[in-house]
């Protein structure tokens, strides 16, 4: 694929093709005024038309597949600064500035800024070498410190509380001569919550670019030495076997074994509803032992999002155990038919050692072998962070964070601002500060606050706008493609390379019934498509169907047991989907751009995970 892509790239880049201008995107009927959901700085601006029109904006369906909720922009706004500052102001990366963001029809579009002036590159390189060099040299120590900081941040998040304001402030605030009261505590709690999120958001990117960079360098070395080597083979040489992302699923495997051991397997298998199942276990002999183990496994491992953690909508195992319980039943059935459900760790590790040694032997000179040894070692050193930060940040911290925001929603309900705790997500975080102040005013003054009549119609309108935007299909890219793409995160995380862009430019999604993407996990399978555009549709999946989605999440593990292959619109070889698909041995093609819009439920499709091609064999009438 790599080889054939090059001439195409050369041919089409000479044509000076471009994507639709962001200024030519029209608002779908019924979503007029969508801009009010988002802050002014996130919108495409006519005052800067020339600059905005000349950039490449690509749809970040990987992190934000759906129209953004106003509150949820805290996540995208966080990395707009946090990831960008690392590249631009902290290291600074010689070739890359930050990644710009815009919200268009509710969807997130991003645009990497490159440094092209050689003098500027050289100047930045000097600082970069000293600063990044320090991180690489002390990686393990810094990572230990990082884990401590991340856990501390999570602990401080856990203790933040939102409680409706009391009739009278508590005695101790008076008799302790504190001089500060419940109103002050509420604002502080909110500020602390936001600060805490932005703090974790900063840690998130502290080591990430460097981690990806070391991996990318190793990858490039392999691609030059062994032209055509597959991405999954390179990843296989580097990736760990005991990464935290596998831990929640491992816990479920352990619980399955325990259920069989305690003779509770029939109770688990007989009850589909989580509540009913837990109650039945509680009533069974030995049930208390299993429940104790369950509670222990849950904290923290069930703070596991079913999405990528960037939106409050993704159910979390902790509150919605349907997914892990489906997995539990699957593992129990496997155990009862005599299967070994533990991952074969020694086997995986042996294979990794053997593959690495064989490639090493094939290098031309001793100098090359030395470079290979050093690069694979460095890549393996940085990789635990690259893989594990995901659990600490996106799963554990973000899931807890959304829970806290819901508690805040309860407060607004208690103060008669909203009807539903979930309405809180229809306000931007800056608007929440205003609304909270409005709560304080009403409480302090004794006049009903305007918020009691102000927010409900606004929220209703915003819901309607967002629902309309959900039905709009964001094009993969807008604006003008750059000469080159060098920003490492763009390549690593989104899988966007000059070839991808040419692919998009030349695309006629269904003309030849074929979609190209990244070959993320090998194998070739034919089956009926199950297109998932909403998390709830996951429960409709039938065994042997092919999952077609914008993006999958690692915690969809139970779904991976049932499907025959996975196809996504977005993602690169390091996308969570890709990692898990390889682990489950399912063919996967990611980053196809158009799978969910060009494939419909029930289409007969062929997924070729060796070549990165999805073919529509038979359209469902």
């Amino acid at each position: 694929m790599q080889q054939t892509a090059t001439p195409q790239a050369a041919a089409s880049s000479s044509a000076k093709a471009r994507f639709t201008s962001p200024f030519d995107i029209t608002t779908p009927e019924g979503a007029e005024g969508w801009q009010e959901l988002y802050p002014y700085y996130a919108l495409i601006s006519p005052e800067r038309r020339e600059m905005e029109d000349e950039k490449l904006w690509f749809f970040d369906g990987m992190h934000s597949p759906a129209p953004l909720y106003p509150f949820d922009t805290i996540m995208t706004e966080n990395w707009w600064v946090a990831a960008s500052q690392m590249s631009n102001r902290v290291w600074p990366i010689p070739l890359a500035l930050g990644i710009d963001h815009r919200i268009i029809n509710g969807y997130l579009y991003i645009s990497p800024n490159a440094v092209t002036d050689p003098d500027e590159v050289a100047k930045r390189a000097e600082h970069f070498n000293a600063r990044a060099g320090h991180y690489y040299e002390n990686w393990d120590t810094i990572y230990d410190e990082w884990v401590t900081k991340a856990r501390d941040c999570i602990e401080r998040l856990k203790v933040i509380e939102f409680k409706p304001l009391p009739e009278l402030v508590p005695d101790e605030q008076v008799f302790g001569h504190r001089g500060l009261y419940s109103s002050h505590d509420l604002l502080t709690a909110y500020n602390t919550l936001i600060q805490n999120m932005l703090e974790m958001g900063s840690y998130h990117f502290e080591m990430l670019n460097l981690g990806y960079g070391a991996y990318l360098t190793f990858r490039e070395f392999c691609q030059e030495a062994f032209p055509g080597i597959s991405d999954q083979t390179i990843t296989h040489m580097v990736s760990g076997i005991d990464i935290l992302l596998f831990r929640p699923d491992d816990e479920v495997r352990g619980l399955a074994e325990l259920a069989v051991e305690l003779g509770l397997d029939e109770v688990v298998l007989a009850n589909e509803s989580p509540e009913v199942m837990l109650a039945a276990i509680g009533a069974a002999p030995n049930g208390d032992k299993w429940l104790a183990a369950y509670e222990e496994a849950r904290e923290p491992w069930f703070w596991f999002s079913t999405g990528v953690g960037y939106t409050h909508e993704d159910p979390v195992w902790m509150n919605d155990p349907r997914l892990p319980f489906t997995a539990l039943r699957g593992y129990i059935k496997a155990l009862k038919s005599g299967d070994d459900i533990r991952r074969p760790l020694d086997e995986i590790l042996d294979k990794r050692t053997q593959v690495t040694a064989e490639y090493r032997e094939l290098l031309p000179t001793e100098d090359d072998r030395e470079a290979f040894d050093g690069l694979v070692e460095l890549a393996r050193k940085v990789y635990p962070f690259v893989e594990d930060h995901n659990f600490y940040v996106e799963h554990w911290h973000h899931s807890l964070f959304w829970e806290k925001v819901r508690e805040l929603g309860d407060l607004f309900v208690a103060h008669n601002f909203f009807d539903d705790r979930e309405d809180v997500f229809y306000l931007h975080r800056h608007e929440i500060y205003d609304a909270l102040y409005d709560v304080l005013i009403g409480w302090a003054v004794g006049t009903p606050p305007r918020g009691e009549v102000y927010w409900r119609p606004l929220i209703a309108r915003r819901k309607q706008i967002r629902d309309t935007l959900c039905r709009w299909s964001p094009p993969p890219a807008l604006g003008v493609p750059p000469e080159t793409i060098t920003e490492p995160l763009t390549i690593m995380l989104w899988g966007i390379t000059p070839e991808t862009i040419d692919e998009w430019l030349g695309v006629d999604a269904t003309a030849d019934g074929e979609l190209r993407g990244v070959a993320a996990s090998p194998g070739k399978v034919t089956g009926r498509a199950r297109v998932i555009t909403d998390f709830a549709q996951l429960y409709d999946i039938e065994d042997g169907e092919i999952l077609v989605c914008r993006i999958t999440a690692p915690s969809w593990a139970p779904v991976f047991q049932r499907v025959a292959a996975a196809v996504s619109d977005v993602g690169g070889m390091m996308a969570h989907t890709a990692i898990i698909s390889r682990e489950y041995g399912l063919p996967a093609v990611v980053g196809t751009g158009f799978a969910t819009t060009s494939i419909t439920n029930g289409d007969l499709i062929e997924v070729d995970g060796n070549e990165g091609i999805v073919r529509v064999l038979d359209k469902e009438a």
């Binding site: 080889q3 290291w91 990366i93 010689p94 070739l95 590159v121 050289a122 930045r124 390189a125 970069f128 070498n129 990044a132 060099g133 690489y136 040299e137 960079g213 070391a214 990318l216 360098t217 490039e220 070395f221 030059e224 030495a225 062994f226 032209p227 055509g228 080597i229 597959s230 083979t233 593959v355 064989e358 490639y359 094939l362 290098l363 031309p364 000179t365 100098d367 090359d368 470079a371 050093g374 690069l375 070692e377 460095l378 060098t486 490492p488 090998p522 060796n610």
Partner: protein, 365 residues
Amino acid sequence: MTQAPYILWLDDASAPGNALLGGKFASLAHSTAAGLAVPPGFGVTTAAYRHFMTATGLAEEAARIRARAPHMALNEIKGETARLVEGIKTAPLPPELDTKIRESYAVLERRTGVSETPVAVRSSGESEDLEGASFAGQYETYLWICGVDAVIRHIRACWAGMFGDAVLSYRVDGENAVAAGDFGMCVGIQQMVQARAAGVMFTLNPLNGDRSKVVMEACWGLGEGVVKGDITPAQFTVDKVTLEILDRKTVEQTETYCFDPAAGEVTLMPMADERCRKPCLDDEQVLELAKLAKQIERQRGAPQDIEWAIGERGELRVLQVRPETVWSHRETKSLVEKGQSPVNRVLARFAGVKVAAKAAQGESR
């Protein structure tokens, strides 16, 4: 001292590496001994050739011509060698040699269970051992030869082939390759594989020298077209380490080399059947071949060039194994700049310095 044998079977204990078999057949004997599926056969040894040349008095003329070879213009050679070539083709075989060949072919007929069993008659020269000289395509191979008289006729043709103009003028590093010695030739007689598909594979990528690949070219029918180049073959690239098929270039094949009973020889015939639209190898066969290539390379300790065929019942046969000569003799160049720390390599990468040069470029010598 015992008389050197005129006939040596591929599966004879003394055959592997035996100089009497010439380069190609000694190598095949190695492969046979290593357990590879080589079709059965025997070599009419270099001793047999020398005995023939001496007994018929042709040896002196051969030596005279070889000595003159470096001084002859290409267009002179044919006239100069005509008498010698005619002699090789017609002079009576010494009776004991004639008997040996007839006996051996009869044994092969018994072993294969087919009378008049079709064989390949293949030149296997001593000169193939020359450093850097494969004499690729210079020596003759005759396919589908049936009956011992025809076999003997083609053995003579192989002997005569050593005095063809291309061989006599073959140069290695600017030096005439044959002038230097009194090279002999073994002629191999080997059961013909009725190939469903056949081809060639390298245990490296011949385009760039990348040793992590097995690259194979294959076609329907006999592999002649792949070697000659008059059939566009399908191409498969396999990762040698992980045994993944990385690339498939299939073609619609319209003609195939096969035995034409009417003409009594192997010819290029139109493909009539359904096969031509299908890939000549399925994934399973590609992987089986790649594993075989990996095994052979490991046994030989260096990159190899392997000819193979798959019979009508799907059985895989090794027809020839020889060392790869292009990349193996090229100076190996490092991909990286020497002595940098891995951290420095990564730091430089962030500033736009590529970490490695392309794997060996296709520069020619």
